[in-house]
Amino acid sequence: MFSGAVVGVLSYLLYLAFADSANTPQSTWMPMSDNTDNIHAVYQVVFYLAAAVFILILFLTLLFTLMFREREGAVAQQFHGNSKLEVLLVGVPVLIVVAMMVPSFKAIAQNTADPPKGALEVVAIGHQWWFEFQYPEFGITTANELHVPAGRAVSVTLKSNDVIHSFWVPQLVGKVDMVPGHTNHLWFTPDTARDEAYLAQCAEFCGASHANMRFRVFVDTEAKFSDWTKATAADAAKPASELAKAGEQQFTASGCIGCHTVKGNPLAQGKAGPNLTHIGSRTTIASGILPNSAEPMHKWLANPPAVKPGSKMPNLALTEEQIQKLTAYLESLK
């Protein structure tokens, strides 16, 4: 009975720990779309079966250890096996895996099916170390923050510009890799709009700053999404303040235009780095690792590789004044 009590207490503590982990910002156990609902339906079958097997085997191991450990006058029973029992016991793991397989097959069929008609088309391109998002329907190119409407299927075409990355939003969609030379697809329909972003990050090791390659997904109401597309498809705002105007010139002088596009600024046509047309409206910078405000922007511009090791954006050795101008300009790009 002692072993039973140990297993019982342990199981309960485990349950608490699992439940607690399920309630974290990037949790894989908080399905918020049809895709993750499908996954979660399988997950629950698989998880509880696995937990049952785990508890049973642990219990038997403990029980047999306690029952049959060396004791006075005991004699080990001499037998080589029991063919009937062995054949019967083969059936147990067979039943368990079949019970896991049936819902798995169903979810595979659901999640690898073609997306529904009328889905929002998005192209997601992995770069070392940031995500590019294109909306062909609206002529939008943006980075690291994906906006989608609630209740409408989103069909994402996955590509990579360099090495293999992986697109994963734990609460919205199971991961699919972005493989150079291949085009992969996934789709999901977000359940409901919410203000808080869904956290996500690259899930395939992709080099020095793999840990710093994060992104966010905003699920908006239909109206809010429509406003966002209009605003984002528009040209960049013209800088208003003197400092921001000086920053626009600095943006050219420091060579930023070589890698970054700012729609409406005819000089800034670069494609190697993230599109900065509306950088001022994003909530984060540097692929989601810093909040978007003056101080982090300053830190980033001063020495990008120090913030994000291996960053393709070099340390431009900008002066304090130049950084302030650039920060003002970038923050004005609402």
Partner: protein
């Protein structure tokens, strides 16, 4: 452990070092493998401690991104290729001839060569740290991150050359072991009387013979891509990075069974002896091992569910992967059946074997979980997988190896390891191991990807990362206690006797440590548990003949020279053609001497 070399051998003589360098005795070679494997286990352990220290708190500053990526890559390579495989090979070497009643392996000089080549591979791989350019692309080295565009330094060349050389060693020893088991069994030792450990060895040998050529070709292709401008794996020029993944995992998955099957074999030896009853369901456990080996070749794409395989491959590979759960389950039932009705001596070896059953079961079950592609969409490349592989490789493979160490140490040295300290060490390892790796399930569930050198504080990952780091320090204490135990035991007199456990298999019928020729008289096998059969039927041990006319192969330094030649060829592949040429000359000299060496 370094002192073990001198102590395990004969008395201290001037020529001790030379004896070890030129030995072709499978037992000495086994000890060399064991000491080498354990040394690399410590190196891999230090790498692990550094990794965990970096991750103890959010935004850790102990390591930078570059060093972290080198360390997690080298941790996997060191543990898989230079620690667990060699420690498995150590027991294979030492116990294949003893288990089957032979005097040595089929090709003793080839056996010595395997060791020297393995050591060369290990040195090449590990020396990369001295140049500050250790491989940093993960042990899986996915293209195109690993081509010369994205990994321009020498790290990945150390990887390809080191692994090709180490793989050569495994290929040679696998052929040697398979030939030995097929041809050199004692009279009466039919295949279905082989100890289970020998069956698992046999399966592992074939897994390696069939899978190593695949990875060798892939590694050479990667080397060519990096150094000679070919494009096997680079997109845009007709190459395909997914091809690398297929080749890597066609090797990589059977490799997992190469790591775990030997420990399954050890547990299948230890449990019956300690329970004082025959193994439950011998035939089932042997067939399950063979089935795992065969099925192991049909599941590689479960590492690739997320690469966009499509619907049908996901059906096929999830079905085949889950099917492996069946023979694995059979094995667990049979181990429990072996314990049932026994009178189990609770030795340290038993502790480790029972620990193996419990911990391996956890790793096995979580493996079946992400056999389901939708679940894998959440698990893949998350800490859940890190938890899973460590329950299989530490909870499984390492626990089994420690069980074997405690079980066979008296046979190898004539001395029993201290049981009290052994058990204290076990609890440190067991608690430390679970504290390190169980929280990783929670971290994976909370969406923490693996192979990240840093993480933010606001993601809910702090607590469990900290607990895991505490766990690894406790684990380290367990390892240190074990080393201290070995060190203290080796200073004591050899009083273990031939058969301290009442063993069933042939190695317990000879002295501890066994003489160079293993058995004075080749034993005759009448049952699956030969010594128990003889005991129960009052069959006496054969008399030692007055004169032993046993021909043993003489020592040879040509395996060492050929090993040096191969090392030079490898070093040349990393530096200059001249060194490779020198290596070819040395190797040619060694082959010449080897072929013409008198064997009398």
């Amino acid at each position: 452990m370094a002192t073990a070399v001198g102590t395990v051998g004969h008395t201290h003589e001037e020529s001790t070092v030379w004896k070890w360098l030129t030995t072709v005795d499978h037992k000495k070679i086994g000890v060399l493998y064991l000491v080498t494997g354990f040394a690399f286990f410590l190196i891999g352990g230090i790498e692990a401690v550094l990794i965990r220290t970096q991750l103890a708190v959010p935004n850790g500053t102990v390591l930078d991104a570059g060093l972290y990526n080198q360390l997690f890559t080298m941790h996997a390579l060191t543990m898989i290729f230079l620690a667990i495989m060699p420690m498995g090979a150590a027991f294979f070497n030492y116990f294949i001839p003893l288990h089957i009643g032979a005097r040595d392996v089929a090709f003793p000089r080839l056996n010595a060569l395997s060791y020297w080549v393995l050591l060369s591979g290990g040195l090449i791989l590990t020396s990369s740290f001295l140049f500050g350019e250790a491989p940093d692309g993960g042990w899986f080295a996915y293209a195109p991150l690993t081509d010369e565009t994205f990994s321009p330094n020498k790290g990945l060349d150390f990887y390809t050359v080191g692994l090709v050389v180490a793989g050569l060693a495994s290929l040679m020893s696998s052929l040697n072991f398979a030939v030995t088991i097929i041809n050199m069994r004692a009279p009466g030792m039919t295949m279905m009387r082989l100890p289970v450990y020998m069956w698992m060895t046999f399966v592992v040998a074939f897994l390696l013979i069939l899978s190593l050529p695949v990875i060798t070709v892939a590694l050479l292709q990667l080397y060519f891509d990096r150094n000679f401008g070919t494009h096997f794996f680079t997109p845009g020029t007709g190459g395909d990075p997914i091809l690398w993944q297929h080749l890597f995992w066609v090797f990589g998955h059977p490799e997992v069974y190469v790591l775990i099957l030997p420990s399954m074999g050890i547990v299948s030896e230890v449990l019956p002896v300690m329970s004082r009853k025959p193994l439950f369901g011998y035939t089932a456990i042997v067939m399950a091992g063979a089935a795992i080996g065969v099925l192991g070749f049909g599941v590689w794409s479960h590492h690739m569910y997320t690469t966009g395989l499509g619907t049908v491959p996901q059906y096929v590979f999830s079905a085949s992967t889950m099917a492996i759960g069946v023979p694995t389950g059979v094995k667990v039932f049979n181990w429990l059946g072996t314990m049932y009705g026994g009178n189990i001596r609770m030795t340290t070896a038993t502790y480790y074997s029972i620990g193996f059953i419990a911990l391996f079961t956890i790793g096995g079950i979580s493996g079946v979980m992400h056999a389901s592609p939708p679940v894998d969409g959440q698990h893949q490349d998350s800490y859940f997988i890190v938890a899973h592989i460590h329950y299989v490789l530490f909870g499984g493979a390492i626990m089994g190896i420690f069980s074997g160490l405690f079980y066979w140490f008296p046979k190898m040295t004539g001395r029993l390891l201290d049981e009290t300290w052994g058990k204290i060490g076990f609890w440190f390892l067991f608690v430390g191991m679970n504290l390190t790796f169980f929280p990783m399930h929670f971290l994976g569930l909370a969406g923490m990807p693996r192979r990240i050198y840093t993480y933010d504080a606001d993601l809910g990952w702090d607590t469990w990362n900290f607990v895991a780091t505490i766990g690894v320090y406790i684990l380290v204490v367990g390892i240190l206690l074990f080393m201290l135990n070995v060190f203290m035991t080796l200073r004591k007199p050899a009083t273990a006797g031939d058969d301290p456990w009442g063993g069933a298999t042939l190695e317990w019928a000879t002295s501890s440590p066994p003489p160079e020729h293993n058995f004075d008289v080749v034993p005759v096998v009448r049952d699956r548990d030969p010594l128990w059969y003889n005991r129960d039927h009052n069959i006496p041990m054969p008399e030692r003949p007055a004169h032993l006319h046993i021909h043993m192969p003489p020592p040879s330094y040509f395996p060492l020279v050929l090993g040096i030649g191969i090392l030079l060829i490898g070093v040349g592949a990393l530096s200059s053609l001249a060194i490779t040429a020198l290596g070819v000359v040395v190797a040619y000299y060694a082959v010449w001497g080897w072929a013409l060496e008198p064997t009398e």
